[in-house]
């Protein structure tokens, strides 16, 4: 029965091996918490712009979301990198797919980080003192 990838002996691959396991444990807590709050206790019927604005009024939830974004995205990108390693062998295609992965990976991580850090609730909501 297949289990996890064999532990690499050193260098970046060993770091990546540990990163997947450590980020995985943290993500179980963060993501299951996120799903319970956003998809079970609240549902997509309640969630709208005002909901997110109120939620991000709290530095706690911004930090929570930022840590979750970085860990989940890097965990997923590294997973996809291993899938590419397994199936894409021709040198040219490796360059193309890995470059595309790095570019898309960087752009989306930057977008997500930017909105979490720079989002400002509109003045009308701040003035109304909504939660």
């Amino acid at each position: 029965m297949y289990v996890g990838r064999e532990r690499p002996t050193g260098g970046f691959e060993l770091f990546a091996w540990f990163f997947m396991r450590i980020s995985g444990v943290v993500l179980i807590l963060l993501v299951l918490g996120h799903l319970a709050i956003m998809h079970l206790i609240n549902t997509v019927d309640e969630i709208d712009f005002d909901f997110v604005a109120a939620r991000w009024g709290s530095p706690f939830w911004r930090t929570y979301d930022l840590v979750m974004l970085w860990l989940a995205w890097l965990h997923g990108l590294n997973g996809l990198r291993m899938v590419i390693d397994d199936y894409v062998h021709r040198r040219g295609w490796r360059v193309v797919t890995l470059t595309a992965l790095a570019l898309v990976g960087f752009v989306l991580l930057a977008m997500g980080t930017q909105i979490i850090l720079t989002f400002e609730a509109p003045a009308r909501q701040m003035a109304a003192g909504l939660p």
Binding site: M1, Y2, V3, G4, R7, R21, G24, V25, L27, I28, V31, L32, L35, H39, L40, T43, V44, D45, I47, D48, F49, V52, A53, L69, A72, W73, G76, L77, G79, L80, V83, V104, L108, L109, M111, G112, Q114, I115, F119, P122
Partner: protein, 110 residues
């Protein structure tokens, strides 16, 4: 073999959703556009897909724990079959009630 294939497929599925999710959250910069596009996530098709997203995350999480047990716990390799069945039972115990709770507003109205 199947647990490995499922780990891959669920991982890739979650990554695809996360990419879409980053883009939709980025649209918070345009509140009206954001609110107008929410009909997509409220559509019954997505509400069902949402339940399968939870299944993918739950499977990936539990199977990840199994990988950790085998990697770091001496007894993990010997007990891997029992751990696999424990994983199946825990998955069903969490996923079935969660799905019912998530789908009840869709099926029965609010």
């Amino acid at each position: 073999m199947w647990s490995w294939i499922l780990h891959r497929v669920t991982g890739l599925g979650i990554l695809l959703f996360l990419a879409i999710h980053i883009v939709d959250i980025y649209l918070l910069g345009w509140p009206d556009v954001f609110n107008r596009l929410l009909f997509l996530y409220r559509h019954p098709v997505f509400r069902v897909a949402e339940v399968f997203l939870v299944a993918a995350v739950l499977y990936h999480a539990l199977n990840g724990i199994r990988i950790l047990l085998v990697d770091f716990w001496v007894e993990g390799t010997r007990l891997h079959r029992q751990i696999f069945w424990a994983q199946v039972v825990i998955f069903l115990l969490i996923w079935i009630p969660t799905s019912l709770l998530m789908l009840s507003p869709v099926v029965f109205g609010r």
